[in-house]
Every structure is written in C-alpha cells, then in structure tokens.
Symmetry: C2
C-alpha cells in the first residue's frame, strides 16, 4: 500500500464495525469501503465464534475477526450488519445504544415506520444524523430504484411491471459455490448432490427460493420488492407486478422492466434523464447490439440501463420498457450501505 | 430394434425428407419422429455437400445423409425444412412442385398470407390436406401459444406482456457448444475466445442476439414473437410487450408472462383450463416451491406452466401472470413440426 491510494488520516475518521464480516456481503463491504475511500479510523470485524481468530485484509493490513458479543460496539460510530435478520434484531439495538449509526442489510427493520429505508440516489434526503437503525434495501429494490430515481423525479410513475434474472450471490457464498460446483460436475458428466437447493442449479433457472405465500402465490422476494420499492419511492399503493427468477449467473441481477407514466415520455427524454443521473451508466447501443450484461456489471459501482424503448404492449403509449443490470453484492448490498454511511457523514458535517 | 417399438408397417407410410438433418433441429426431428411413432416408409436425410456421406441412426437403422439438390424431392410426401430461411426459399417451392407437404421451420414464409402458421393445439383447424408450405413458428411463439390456447378459447385476451429466458439451442448446436466450452474455461480460469457471440456466454445473460431495429429498439426475435403470436391467435392487432433475453441454459426456454383478459379470471379457473388441455403440464406447487424449470422441461413433450396467480400490478384485477417453460428443440421446433405432419395425415384420412 502506498500513500496514493490510502486516504489521508482524518482526525474524525470513524470507528467502523462489520457484523457478518466473513460472508459474501461482508467481503463486499470491506471492498466497497476501500473502493470508495471511505475514512476508517478503526475497523472492527465481527462474526460468529466459528470464524473468530481468522484475519482479513483491509487497505493492506491484516485485521483480526472477533467474536460478536453484546460488548462489541463500545466506541463504534458506524456498524454495518450483514449476518441475517435474527442477528440484526438482537444486536442492532445494542449498537445504537452504544452510540453507533447502524446500517442494516437484513430485512429485519425494513418495513418499520421509524426506520428509514434508503437508496441515497432515490431518497437520501430522508436521512438525518441521529444515531439509529437505517435499513439497506433488498438487492432488487436497491438496483431498481437507483434506475428509477431520475425518472420518478421528473415524471409521475403510475405502474411498474418486471421480471428478474437473479444471480446466485443473493443466496450467499454457499449458493455461488453450489452453482460453480454443480456446473463443473454437469460438464464432466458427474453426479452432484445439491446442498442449498432442492434441485440442480447447473444450466437451470427457477422461481426464487424464498417461501411462497399459499394464498396469493407470491414469494417472499417478490413481496419485499413490492413493499420496499413503494417505500423508497414514497408511493405506498403503487401497482407493481413482479416475478423473481434465479438464473445461473454469479453476482449481478438483471431486471426486465416496464414503467407506466401518466403521460407519454419519449425514449430520448428517458435516456437523457438517466445519462445525467448519479450511479447509472446507460448501455444502449442498438447498432452494436450492446446492452447491459452481468459480465460488464459485475464489480461495477454503476447500475447499467439499456434497451430503452416504447412498450408496444400499451396502446396508450404511456409505457416505456428497459433492461437493468446491477452488481448484487455492490449496489444491491454493500456499496449502497457504504453510500448511506457517506450520506450520514455529509449530514453530520453540514 | 425389436418389434415392440417399431410401428407396424403401414402401406401408406409416407416418404419423409429432412432438410438440414445434421443440425440441432434436424437431430430433434429424427428424435421426435421416433418418440411420437410417426409412420415413415422411407427417411431421406438431406444436408449440404459438407455433411453428405455421414450416416445417422433412425429406429435402429443407419440412414445415409445425402446432398440436397433440386432433384431431392421426387416421391417425397412430407418434407421438413430446418436449414435456414435462404435454403427454404430456394428449395421448399421445389418440394411442393414435386408433390410434398412442406413443413418449414425457418422464418422464410411465416408472415406470408397464403402460408398457414400452425401450432396444432392453438390453430390446427386452419390446416387442409393440399400440398403446400406450412410454416412452423418461432420457438417462443410456439411454446407461448400452446399455453395460451385453452385460455384464448374460453376468455378474451386483450393484452400480453412477457420477458423471456432463452436457451442456447435457439442459436443452434454451435451456440450450445460455445456455452459449454466457455463455461468450462471460466471454471478453470482459462482464456476463451467466443466464436458465435461478441462476448462471453459463461454465467452471463444478454439481450437476444438478433439484429435490433434502429428506430424502435426492438430486436428481430421480439418482432417475430409479436407478429407470429398475433397470427396464431388470430388477433392481428393484439398489444404485446416482449423483451427477449438469452440466459446460460441449454435447450428449454422460459417465459414470464402476464395476460390481460377483458374480465377478472380467477386462478383456479385458469389452472383447470390448463390442466384439461393437450400439450400442457401444470407444475404449480406453492408449498414445495416447485414450478417449471428447464431441468424438468428438457426432453419433455409438454409445455410446463406454473406460478399462476393474479397480477398485483393491474388494479383492475383483469390480469393474470404465470411462468412457462418448454423444450426449445421439441415443442419450440421439431415436435411441433411433427405434430403438424400428424394433423395433416389426420385431415387426409378424414
């Protein structure tokens, strides 16, 4: 590590904790803090007793992983949680009591009225600097609302309809491994016993593996996308159609989206609005047939948007359609959490 | 081969030709003729000079591949074409002149008014027994309209909206190989130079690789799906929204579909209609989270339909949504062609 990519020491650099540091999102959090040059005075990596004692690399230094306990948050300014809803429910309030801002990647508090659910590009203005829990949205909701923010700002959205193409990373490092190992076995003509899923993931797609509501037929992921998107956009009864499908890709989610506005909005205006918005890269080259792909979105901070066109299925001409791809571990999780922390620091400094 | 799986010799068993016998659909045609016990007096396998001299297996016998020439169709009763639109344009009229029924898998004649475009479950009644060209639809249109047929028969469909999850087989045997070999290289950390596509297919999804209309932004596949679905359903101006995406699976296509009716249709009625229709298997177990998957649709003659539910995005309550998976090489191509031949024989016998 040299002086160039290390942020200048700041007297106010916060003490940062990561709960669930050794998981797929934990690793991505460490990466995002580095990538975005987020000031860190001390990094406290917390995990279960099983992982304690390991060490992980941050800005060229080895940082030990400690066991998460009730006393882990003394002196912590910002605590990122990515160890599942039950851990968040138990430990996030303790971190707030210790004076930390908690940014929680689980679904534990996302629908709680007094917990802001934040995508900085879409509703960052809802943040204030008081120590509290702030919820980081579901990955699809985060990627989707980043792309919607500049459209929502200019035009009135009256309906959303989407089908998703979701990566293995949403199921954690274990599901990514199951996809790789199952695919390798398939190519070699070998038997493979899936451990996470009840069926093969190799060269296969399937309805999202969250529980399905027996009454409505919607799965947990779809219900989250509907509820969280409405909250982030501040449109509590927005009609949203969504089907969540997993596809055999590793870490970037795709969304095939139709947006109904209350008027006709032409494609050029949409492209212009997206082009000038933060966090978005328009990839929409019709001649070269070059549109958003996971191979180009993986590891990318921006959400890629393309295939922007009128929806021929709406005779009123008020619907536009597009294809969106974003890194599930970055904008869909870790990076959005770090962006929330950045926004909090900006509020505190203001 | 024993007497049990060989159809009894029939005096009227037709002479059958397959043009493009060595391609992915050609192989599937041979398989479908066997699987459906279609009577074949003589099988004439036709291909380019490059493939002539090989032999292929049919019902336990070796059948030589012959070079396709203008004289190939003497005595042929049924000619299946699966060698691309330019071969069909040149040779299909010659086959008709020689007295054959032509069932053409290419897009050459699909939008020609005097050429029936047929999915037997949906519009088989349009067939008559005269020697002519009959077009076999685009794979998505065939799989889609099989699932729609029993709904279209009972209720009025006013709009379709879909996103596809298309397999490599739609791009032929070469694209299937590119997916396999690119994935193998990716898993081994090796370089891989794609031959068919301008980018990697390994663990990647991308907008369909057909040319994109620079004005509207729709690609060739999407325009085919719209035009052919309208023709097969006999609804020439039906509003259809479609986004075609390729996913890294081998030979079964998925379709995430919303159907707007002119009234509310409840989920149980839809399920009942689908359950009693030919060519469809309902796979819709909410409790077990078991829905249509390519791993179960590949090699299957039936189209699998599930995730049947009200579309929460339409406040009028008139839209239902479902997920459909069908084998691209079978119902999406070869099997539908053989079913057309079966329907023609039934008409001739009637």
């Amino acid at each position: 590590m040299n002086a160039h990519n290390r942020p200048a020491p700041e007297s106010d650099a916060p003490v940062v904790a990561i709960v669930g540091a050794t998981g797929a999102v934990g690793l991505a959090l460490i990466h995002s803090l580095e990538q975005r040059n987020f000031p860190v005075g001390e990094l406290r990596l917390l995990a279960s007793a099983r992982s304690a004692g390991r060490s992980m690399s941050f800005r060229g230094n080895k940082v030990p992983v400690q066991e998460l306990t009730e006393d882990s948050f003394a002196g912590v300014n910002i605590a990122f949680f990515s160890a599942g809803a039950s851990i968040s429910r138990k430990f996030a309030p303790l971190a707030v009591d210790a004076g930390a801002q908690v940014i929680d990647n689980s679904s534990a508090f996302r629908m709680q009225d007094d917990v802001p659910l934040i995508v900085p590009e879409a509703n960052g203005k809802e943040l204030d600097a008081a120590p509290r829990i702030i919820a980081n949205p579901n990955c699809i909701a985060a990627i989707l609302t980043t792309a919607l923010a500049p459209l929502h700002e200019r035009w009135s959205i009256t309906r959303l309809s989407m089908s998703t193409y979701q990566a293995a990373s949403g199921g954690g490092a274990e599901m990514m491994e199951e996809l790789r190992e199952g695919t390798r076995a398939h190519l070699n003509g070998e038997e493979f016993e899936p451990k996470i899923l009840p069926h093969s993931y190799a060269f296969n797609i399937f309805s999202h593996n969250s529980d399905v509501d027996p009454e409505t037929g919607y799965n947990g992921e779809e219900l989250k996308v509907i509820a969280e998107t409405r909250r982030i956009l501040g449109q509590p009864v927005l009609p949203i159609s969504v089907t969540c499908i997993r596809v055999p890709i590793l870490r970037a989610h795709g969304i095939s989206l139709s947006i109904r506005f209350d008027e006709h909005v032409n494609t050029a205006s949409i492209r212009n609005a997206l082009n000038s918005a933060p966090g978005i890269r328009v990839v929409d080259d019709r001649e070269a047939n070059h549109f958003p792909m996971p191979s180009e979105a993986s590891g990318e901070q921006d959400v890629l948007v393309g295939r922007i066109r009128d929806d021929l299925g709406d005779p009123s001409g008020r619907t536009s359609t597009m294809f969106i791809v974003g890194d599930q571990l970055l904008k869909g999780a870790a990076q959005n959490a770090v962006q929330i922390a950045e926004a909090l620091r900006a509020k505190a400094a203001a």
